[in-house]
């Protein structure tokens, strides 16, 4: 069952042909954070760097296990957890709950199968609990609002949305194809899969380099369960890898918000 999250960090790690172990890097912004879920994103063709994602759409070219070491006790709390358990296409939104502080630099992935013939990447998203974010009140009504962003270039900043300023957000949903309520053509599935979103509040990144495709939550077993996040729209942006003129369409978002009295 999906837990409350208030931050997410998209990490791309390279895999070389024949490599059988991936040491995970030290990431200062994740130090001390309580990890809630981990996604191996096998539903996008390219990482943020533009390199191909190994195991895209269930390709059996890689297989293996992840081992995660707890930060305080330095015990291996997940020892050889099958990567399949974390793959987006497998769990369909029903993520394994972790709820531990993880020492990433002492955690690793063991590849038991690696038949890639060129350098590819594994795209991993770490979801965590940011202590500074206020937990949502229970039994509070929610509202659903919308905004849209017309992509103009490889990085497009979100526009100021007065109606959403300082609102507490429980989830962000993306919709594709067809037209937005304002009559703009929505992005295609292809653009969606090459897009990454960063949501910031001042210099603090709540969501960093998260595949936009993860916010397309139609048909999943479970949807995201954000803690009350608010972010600065003009300080947040969407990056599109290998941007072309065909990508110059609108991303349509819905936000689930804590209701205001």
């Amino acid at each position: 069952m999906n837990q409350l999250i208030s931050g997410a960090y998209g990490l791309e790690v390279q895999i070389a042909p024949g490599q059988n172990k991936i040491e995970l890097p030290y990431i200062s912004s994740l130090k001390g954070k309580r990890f809630k879920h981990i996604d191996i994103v096998d539903s996008i063709p390219f990482g943020k760097s533009g390199k191909a994602v190994a195991g895209f759409m269930g390709n059996a070219e890689i297989d293996g296990y992840i081992s995660l070491r707890e930060e305080n006790t330095q015990t291996m709390i997940f020892n050889n957890l099958n990567l399949d358990e974390l793959k987006v296409l497998k769990h369909k939104g029903n993520r394994i709950a972790i709820s531990h502080k993880i020492s990433l630099e002492r955690s690793f992935i063991t590849l038991t199968t690696n038949t890639i013939e060129e350098i590819k990447v594994l795209f991993i998203v770490f979801y965590y609990d940011e202590p500074t974010v206020l937990k949502p009140k229970r039994n509070v009504l929610t509202e659903i609002s919308d905004f849209e962003l017309v992509l103009k270039q490889s990085r497009t900043s979100l526009l100021e949305e007065p109606k959403l300023k300082n609102r507490l957000i429980r989830n962000v949903l993306v919709d594709i194809l067809g037209k937005t309520p304002r009559g703009n053509d929505k992005i295609s599935s292809d653009t969606l899969m090459r897009s990454f979103i960063t949501l910031q509040k001042r210099n603090f990144q709540f969501f960093k380099d998260i595949p936009l495709q993860l916010l397309y939550q139609v048909g999943l077993s479970e949807s995201f369960n954000f803690e009350n996040i608010s972010f600065d729209f003009t300080n947040s942006f969407v990056d599109v890898v290998s941007f072309t003129n065909d990508d110059k369409k609108a991303i349509f978002f819905n936000c689930i918000l804590e209701a205001q009295k």
């Binding site: 659903i144 309520p181 048909g219 479970e222």
Partner: protein, 260 residues
């Protein structure tokens, strides 16, 4: 996560190219109802072979113009805008977040509406290139929900339907003994996912034209429970709605299990 229905209201919706909005019917949604969920039910192109039609419970004959529900592929846009007395609390929510396919492709977000809605200010905005017919469902409660998934017992009924007679409204009291009337229902399951609806009425509950598809699927998230409802079987119907007459095997044997 299972969902728990105390009452289910339903009305037929026709989307046509000359119009761009439809509103909730005031006689279906009343101000004292606390709405939990709203969803739309279309025919789906993903149906299994032999299920190429989804009958309409509001049609009386298979030859009626409105006898079948249609697939939504001609719908270019469909957004929900829902208001309570104070404000619009759902703004431009795409219908993809709401529609039900045979796999019950529906998100939890449309659950937990948890308030009365203002029908005069709530509507769906749409564009379609063809006329589309679907059903709009609203789950609501008029008293607090009782959460008790433990079953006390069950009974089974079998109904043989002669498909050569076309659409039929079969009174449930012809199959269910009067003694079962006092049992508070928690669940109904069926062996056939399509071809019909239950209209379950009593003085305290109203489950209007619930499609068998919702009783057939057993996905953990969408497992459907009734909130200990009472049913007056002398006023409740099995609405058989298969628009095609089966020539090879004209009888369908429907099996239902009622849990209480």
């Amino acid at each position: 996560m299972a969902f728990n229905i105390q009452n289910l209201a339903c009305f037929e919706v026709e989307l046509n190219p000359n119009s761009h909005r439809f509103y909730f019917k005031e006689d279906v949604i009343k101000p004292d109802m606390t709405i939990d969920e709203i969803f739309l039910f279309f025919h789906s192109a993903e149906y299994m072979e032999g299920d190429e039609y989804t009958g309409n419970p509001y049609a009386q004959k298979s030859t009626d113009d409105n006898s079948v529900l249609t697939y939504f592929n001609a719908v270019e846009t469909l957004y929900a805008n829902i208001a309570d007395k104070e404000k619009d609390f759902i703004v431009n929510l795409p219908f993809y977040q709401m529609h039900v396919t045979p796999n019950l492709n529906r998100l939890q977000l449309i659950q937990n509406i948890n308030r009365a809605i203002d029908t005069a200010k709530s509507f769906f905005y749409y564009n379609t290139t063809e006329t589309i017919r679907c059903l709009c469902y609203i789950t609501y409660r008029t008293s607090p929900i009782v959460l008790n998934p433990v079953m006390s017992g069950s009974f089974n009924i079998e109904i043989d339907v002669d498909t050569t007679k076309g659409f039929q409204d079969i009174l449930l009291s012809d199959y269910i003994p009067v003694g079962y009337q006092a049992l508070k229902l928690k669940k109904i399951t069926t062996n056939i996912p399509d071809k019909g609806y239950f209209d379950l009425i009593s003085d305290s509950n109203n489950i209007e034209n619930i499609p068998f598809r919702l009783l057939y699927d057993k996905q953990p998230r969408y497992d459907l429970y009734f909130n200990e409802i009472t049913v007056d079987y002398t006023r409740s119907y099995f609405r058989y709605r298969r628009p095609v007459i089966e020539n090879d095997d004209p009888t369908y044997k429907f099996k239902f299990t009622f849990y209480y």
